[in-house]
């Protein structure tokens, strides 16, 4: 293992000169090469790398699309068709970008639910987790505004419905809505500001991602046992072990991504969005993109407009409180027999809400939406706090190594003298 040094020592004279002026090489070395990684991480821990890949892919394809797209209510739809028909490989770039948004959300939902399952939000990772929730909210705003840009029927009416939600706010509601619209209905000014913000927000996401990764490197990664790294044998250096695993996972994810792009590129969209926006004709069902459906179901479950808006926003805001709502000291659900059952019920309820969000809000769909919405909040506000007191967790292993290999069977880990407590790193 001696080939992996734990600290960066510049070899060339230029390296020494540069290091003393900007120590970026040692930062990269300590963060992405020597950084100790729990050796028992599963593929659920590769979604961070997959998400970085998706963010970069969305920015790169988006920059190219912006070279041809025209943010004008009279020309936007046409310019998208121009990209699809006349621009060389324009169809590829646009389908990559449109499906990329969905793939981004597939990856982020797996990432979020991995965090829920293994208790990654608990101390000492609360700030890391909260930054993640902020990224998710920025992603939702970006995706929503992006879907408006083609200026099809669903773009227009989706924008109308969602921006109108703010009118439910007392006193300031109507003013906020006029400000969002830049007028008295969704129109050209709305499209212009959405385009501007859709271009801006990904770079804000990028900034928060840097903070998220920084916050990750202070306590180090959680792992399936939920217990921290205790000795060098519990860990392996990030490079090459985590690096190669992440690259492999990203390529496998690219296969999944390519399947949608090349074979069913319009499956995740709406047929209505191939009809140019028409303020005079309302589509039969206004449905948001699939990744918003659970929140849309919560919005519509509440018969009162303001109540629905509050419930929908609370459904995400309650995530911020999770580190404190969960009173259990045990991180990993593997050692929490009761929570494990509630976790899977919660997953099922979220999927059910997603399905209900795509259904018209009528008849028994409304009743089921209300029950599912109630359960969603009960999970966070009642089940999580109470379980910590009533649940008797299973005995935790003494170390990661003991859990995955048995005590006797050693195996090389981090080089001797490797820092087993990443907390002490700057």
């Amino acid at each position: 293992m001696s080939q992996y040094s734990t600290t960066y020592v510049p070899k060339s004279s230029f390296g020494k000169w540069f290091e003393s002026r900007l120590p970026i090489a040692s930062l990269v070395h300590s963060s992405f090469i020597a950084f100790p990684v729990p050796r028992n991480l599963t593929y659920f821990w590769t979604f961070g790398a997959i998400l970085v890949f998706m963010l970069v892919a969305q920015i790169v394809t988006g920059v190219f699309l912006a070279m041809y797209y025209t943010p004008n209510a009279a020309l936007a739809f046409q310019s998208v068709e121009h990209i699809m028909r006349d621009v060389n490989y324009g169809w590829l770039i646009r389908y990559l970008h449109a499906n990329g948004a969905s793939m981004f959300f597939v990856a982020v939902y797996i990432h979020i639910f991995r965090n829920f399952y293994y208790g990654s939000y608990k101390a000492p990772r609360e700030v890391l987790y909260i930054l993640g929730v902020i990224i998710f909210i920025l992603m939702m705003a970006t995706a929503f505004m992006g879907y408006v840009l083609p200026w099809g029927q669903m773009s227009f009416w989706g924008a109308t419905v969602i921006t109108n939600l703010f009118s439910a706010l007392p006193v300031v509601g109507e003013t906020i809505v006029s400000f969002l619209w830049g007028g008295y209905s969704v129109g050209n000014p709305t499209l212009n500001r959405f385009f501007s913000l859709h271009y801006l927000l990904p770079f804000m996401i990028f900034g928060v991602v840097i903070l998220h990764v920084w916050a990750l490197h202070v306590p180090g990664q959680n792992n399936p046992t939920g217990i921290p790294i205790k000795s060098g044998k519990d860990a392996v250096p990030f490079t090459p072990y985590a690096t190669i695993k992440d690259i492999f996972a990203v390529v496998v994810f690219m296969i999944f991504f390519a399947y949608w792009v090349f074979y069913i590129p319009n499956y995740l969209g709406h047929a209505d969005n191939y009809i140019p926006a028409n303020p005079a004709v309302t589509p039969a069902h206004i449905v948001p993109e699939w990744y918003f459906l659970p929140f849309y179901a919560i919005l519509r479950a509440i018969p009162d407009k303001l109540g629905g808006v509050i419930a929908m926003f609370s459904a995400i805001l309650v995530w911020f409180l999770m580190p404190w709502l969960d009173t259990s000291k045990v991180r990993s659900t593997a050692y929490r027999p009761l929570y494990k059952q509630f976790f899977w019920v919660f997953v099922a309820v979220c999927i059910l809400l997603g399905w209900l969000g795509a259904k018209p809000a009528e008849g028994w769909y409304v009743i089921v939406s209300q029950i599912a919405t109630a359960y969603y909040f009960i999970h966070f506000l009642v089940i999580l706090p109470v379980l910590g007191f009533v649940e008797r967790p299973l005995p935790l292993p003494n170390s990661i190594l003991e859990s995955v290999m048995g005590v006797q069977k050693g195996g090389a880990g981090m080089p001797a003298g490797a820092n087993a407590e990443p907390q002490s790193k700057g």
């Binding site: 028992n40 399936p224 072990y241 190669i244 390519a258 399947y259 047929a271 009528e362």
Partner: protein, 294 residues
């Protein structure tokens, strides 16, 4: 303002579906298309026939405004010859200008021109068609669909079923049947079994034998001159106008898939070899014993 608020409220509550919908809408039959599946390609002869149907039947009311004449000779489409396309374009009069004198003028079409719309503007189209402008057909098979429902929307992913719009259009064109007893068809409307709500503004557009198809060596038409065949050929043509790079997409998709799968296999073994240095990969956690802490 009030009207808008009501409209939004109705939209939010999903009440905007036509209230006059009577009876269940049947599910369009799933047809076999040459362009379906991972290796699907268009049938050139079918696209050429479909174009003939468009020109002789649909073009009097429906535009095809995103399609240029030159597209008809591009690879992956009907692949008319360039001479045919030049001759075809020249049959149309295109408004151009202004010239040096500042006047608009008409000139014969060129391959680079797009199909001119049958009406000067949407209001004229609506006025000539009982109040509703006939929609542009360029994107039709992607702009129409029908409800798939559970579990079919999941199996569709694996079957790569993306011909729902095409199946719906053929069903629609075949759907001009007699209304069921007691069904009131309002003035200016027409009964269609597959149209949502069953009342469609467009009258039955085509009848058997209306469009003459090219003859084969035996002097027989290439394909049956029936409404059903017209509908299939037209829909195939419109699928191409909606997705002109469909063949290139599927071809490139196969290459990309092959490349990524080989790369992932190589990466998998690379990863295995690297992890062998630390005694192999270990993941997750041991199944904890089912005894509780004292």
């Amino acid at each position: 303002m009030m009207k808008r608020t009501l409209l939004i409220a109705a939209a939010l509550l999903g009440l905007s579906a036509p209230a006059y919908a009577a009876g269940e809408t049947p599910v369009p039959p799933q047809l076999s298309w040459s362009f379906q599946g991972p290796f699907g390609t268009f049938d050139r002869a079918q696209l050429q026939r479909g174009f003939k149907v468009y020109r002789e039947v649909c073009a009097s009311c429906h535009g095809l405004s995103y399609v240029a004449f030159r597209n008809l000779s591009q690879p992956g489409g009907p692949e008319f010859s360039e001479a045919q396309v030049r001759a075809l374009a020249a049959e149309y009069q295109i408004q151009d200008g202004p010239n040096e004198a500042g006047d608009m003028f008409e000139r014969p079409g060129r391959p680079a021109d797009r199909f001119p719309s049958p009406f000067p503007n949407e209001n004229a189209a609506a006025a000539a068609n009982g109040g509703k402008a006939p929609p542009d057909l360029s994107l039709m098979p992607k702009a129409r669909t029908y409800e798939r429902g559970f579990p079919w929307f999941i199996t569709d992913v694996f079957r790569q079923y993306s011909e729902n719009g095409a199946d719906y259009l053929v069903a629609l064109l075949n759907g001009y049947t007699e209304p069921p007893a007691g069904f009131q068809v309002p003035e200016g409307g027409h009964y269609n079994a597959y149209f949502p709500g069953h009342i469609i503004a467009m009258p039955k557009p085509v009848s058997d034998g209306q469009v003459e198809y090219p003859k084969d060596a035996n002097g027989q038409p290439q394909a049956p001159e029936t409404v059903d065949q017209y509908a299939r050929d037209l829909t195939a043509f419109l699928m191409w106008t909606a997705e002109p790079h469909l063949e290139a997409r599927k071809r490139l998709g196969f290459q990309v898939m092959l490349f990524l799968i080989v790369l992932s296999v190589l990466l998998y073994f690379t990863k295995k070899k690297i992890w062998a240095r630390v005694g192999g990969e270990v993941e997750g956690h041991a199944t904890p014993p089912m005894t509780h802490n004292p």
